[in-house]
C-alpha cells in the first residue's frame, strides 16, 4: 500500500488506489451538492407557502421582473454549463490549454450573468421594488407584493453568491490546469468544479420560471 502510494503522485496515503480516491472525491462532492440543494429548499418552501397565501400579489409582482434580462441570463448560464462540460472532457484528454481556455470562457459567462443581474437589481432599487419594509413602489401595492421581493432578493442573492463562489472555484481549477497539474490519469478537481458549476446552473433553471414567468 505504501509502496504503491509512493509511486503515484496525487494519491493520498490512506487510499489503496487512484480510482478509489476519485470515487471518494466524487461521492463527497455529490453529498455536498445535496446539502446545497437543501439550503435552497428552505427558500423554495417559503416561496411555496407565500405564493399559496398571496397568489394575486405574487402574480402581479412577478410581472415587474425583467423577463428579457432573466431569459438572457438563462441562456448564458446554460451555455456556460456546456463550456464547463467541454473543459472536463478536454481535461480528461490531457489537453490542458483547451481546458484553461474553456474554463476562462465559463468564468466570463458567469461574469456576464452577474453584470446583467446587477442591472436588474439596479432597476428594482431605483423603482423602490425592495424587500419588506423598504418596498415603496407606487405602481403596485397590495398584500404579498413586498414578500415577493423579499424572496426575489434572498433567492437570487444567495444564487448570486454561489455564482461568485463558482467563478472562484473555476478560476482556481484553471490556474492549476495552466500549471500542468492535470493529466489523462488525474483530473478530479476539474470534474468537481464542473459539478459545482452545474449545480449553480440547475438552481437558476428553477429560479427563473418561479420568479419571472409564473
Amino acid at each position: 500500500m505504501q509502496a504503491e502510494a509512493a509511486g503515484t503522485p496525487n494519491l493520498a496515503h490512506h487510499f489503496p488506489s487512484l480510482e478509489q480516491q476519485e470515487h471518494a472525491a466524487r461521492m463527497g462532492m455529490w453529498l455536498f451538492l445535496s446539502t446545497e440543494i437543501l439550503l435552497f429548499t428552505v427558500l423554495f418552501t417559503a416561496y411555496a407557502v407565500y405564493r399559496f397565501l398571496f397568489p394575486v400579489g405574487f402574480e402581479d409582482a412577478s410581472k415587474l421582473a425583467h423577463v428579457a434580462m432573466g431569459a438572457t441570463n438563462t441562456v448564458v448560464l446554460i451555455t456556460s454549463s456546456l463550456t464547463v462540460a467541454l473543459a472536463i472532457y478536454y481535461a480528461r484528454q490531457g489537453e490542458s490549454r483547451k481546458t484553461v481556455a474553456l474554463l476562462a470562457i465559463t468564468i466570463a459567462f458567469g461574469a456576464v450573468f452577474m453584470v446583467l443581474k446587477g442591472f436588474e437589481y439596479y432597476h428594482h432599487f431605483v423603482e423602490g421594488q425592495l424587500p419588506g419594509k423598504y418596498y415603496h413602489f407606487e405602481g403596485l401595492q397590495g398584500p404579498g407584493v413586498s414578500m415577493y421581493f423579499t424572496l426575489y432578493f434572498l433567492m437570487t442573492g444567495l444564487h448570486g453568491i454561489h455564482v461568485l463562489i463558482g467563478m472562484g472555484v473555476l478560476a482556481w481549477v484553471a490556474a492549476r490546469a495552466a500549471r500542468g497539474d492535470f493529466s489523462r490519469s488525474y483530473s478530479t478537481p476539474v470534474e468537481l468544479g464542473g459539478l459545482y458549476w452545474h449545480l449553480v446552473d440547475l438552481i437558476w433553471i428553477f429560479l427563473f420560471p418561479l420568479l419571472y414567468l409564473l
Partner: protein, 545 residues
Amino acid sequence: MFPSPASEASYNSPNYLNAEKGVRSWLTTLDHKRIAVMYLGLVVAAFALGGFFAMLIRIELLTPGPTIMDAMTYNRMFTLHGVIMIFLFMIPAIPGVFGNFFLPLMLGAEDVAFPRINLFTVYLYLIGAAIAVWGMIQGGTDTGWTFYTPYSTTTVTTVAPVLLGAFILGMSSILTGVNFIVTIHTLRAPGLTWMRLPLFVWAIYATSIIQVLATPVLGMTLLLVAVEKAFGFGIFDPARGGDPILFQHLFWFYSHPAVYIMVLPAMAVVSEVVQAFARKNIFGYKAVAFSSLGIAFVGFFVWGHHLFTSGQSTFASGVFGVLSMFVGIFTAVKVFNWTATLYKGAIHVAAPFIYFLGFLYFLMFGGLTGIALSTVSLDVHWQDTYFVVAHFHFIMVGATIMAFLAGLHYWWPKMFGRMYSERWALAAAVLVILGFNATFIPQFLLGNMGMPRRYYSYPEQFWPLNVASTAGASLLAFGFIIVLVYLIVSLVSGRVAGPNPWGSRGYEWNTPSPPNVLNFPETPIITRGAHEYQDAPAGEVTHAS
C-alpha cells in the same frame, strides 16, 4: 476470564500521541486520532461551561422569587445553557470524538476519506463557538435555543452573532457527516462487508445521513432570522404578511432530527459496549443495524409534534403524533436486542457496563414519556412545562451522557494506553446516575403539577421539589468532577493498559494502545464479524491481518 495484560504489556511507543511534538504539530495534524483528541478537549470544555450555566439556573430556582439574578439574566442563562450544550456538546461529542477515533480503526483504514476537511471541521467548530460565545457576552440572547420568531426578531438582545455561530457549527457538522459517509463507503478493509460492519459504524452512518440532510435547512433558517433581525425583510413578521409558524416548521425540520443526531451515536456506542461486556455477539444484528436507518428515516417526518399547540390542524397533529410513535418502535427493537444480548452472556461488571445499564434506564424512561408526549391530548396539558424539560433531559441528555461516559471508559485505554481507577469509576458512575435521577424526577412531577418552563420565579407550592432538583444537580456536578479528576490522574500515572484490557473482539482492539500513526502495520483482512466471541479462546487477541 478477563486477562490483566498490564503485567507483561508495555506502553506502545512510538504512537500517534508522541510521534510528533509541539502545539504546532497538533494544530496542523491530519491524523483522525489527534483530531478526535482535540474534539475531546473541546467538547469537555463546552460541557463544563454549559454545566456551569445549568448550575446557575438551578441556584436561581432554589427559592421562589429572585435568588441570585433577575429575569433577563435568567433568560440569558438558559439560552446559554441550551445553545452550548446542544450545538457545542451534544451534536459534535460522540461523532467528533469516538466517530473520528474509531471509525477508521473499525474499518481497517488509515484515516477518514478527507483528512484535511476533518481538520477544517475542528476550526469551524472553534470559529462558530467563538462567535456564538462572543455574542453571548456582548448582549446575551434571551430567546432560548429555539430562537422562535417573532420574539427573536424583535428582542433588544444580540441574536445575530449566536445565529451566525450556530450556522458555522452546522457547517462543521455537515462536513463531518459527508466525511463519515464517504469513509464508510470507500475505505472498508478487504473482507469487511456491510453485514460485518460493527454496529457502531451503522449507527454513525445513520447519524451522518441526518447531519447531511437536515443541517442545511437549519443553517438557512437561522440565516433568515438573522437577516430579518438585521434588515426587517419581513419574512417571518406577521405585520408584513410573514408567517411565524413557517419558522417553527423549518426549525423543527432540522431540530427534531437533530435529537437523533444526538441519540443515534449514543446507541452506536452502547451497541459496542454491550457486546464487549456481555462477551457475546449482538442478538439480532440486522434488526439493530436497520433500526438505526429506520430512526433516521422516520425522524424526518415527526417535526410537527413540536407544533401541537401552535395552531397546526388537528389532522396534521394526529398524523405527526402517530409517526412520532414509530420512533418508539425502532427504539424498542434496539432495547429488546440489547437486553437479549445480555441473556446467557458472561457479564463483566465494570464502569462502561454500569453506564450501559444507566443508558437503558434513561432511554426507556425518557422514551416512554416521549410516547406519552406524542399523544396530542396529553401534550396540550404538558406543553412548555417542566415535564417536557425532564423528558428531553432524560432521553437526549441522560442517554447521551451515559453513552458518552460508557464509550469514554471503554475506549480510554485504547485512546491513551492507560487504565483509570476502577473503584473511583464505579463510585462516580453510581453518583452520576443517582444525581441525574434526583435532578429530573422532581422536574417530571413539577411539570405534571403545571410549573411552566423558562421562568425565573415560581409559586411557593413548587418549592420543595425545586430544592430536590437543585440538590440532585449538585450531586451530578460532583460526580462529573470525580470523573474528570481520576481520568486526568490516569493520564499521568494510570497503569499501562496493554492492547486489549477488556478482551474485546471489536476490530479496533487489534491495534496497540495507543495506536500507531498509521493504525495498522498492514491492511487487515477481515474474516469474521466484529464481536464474534463463540470461537475465541478466553483473552485471545486476534490480528485480522
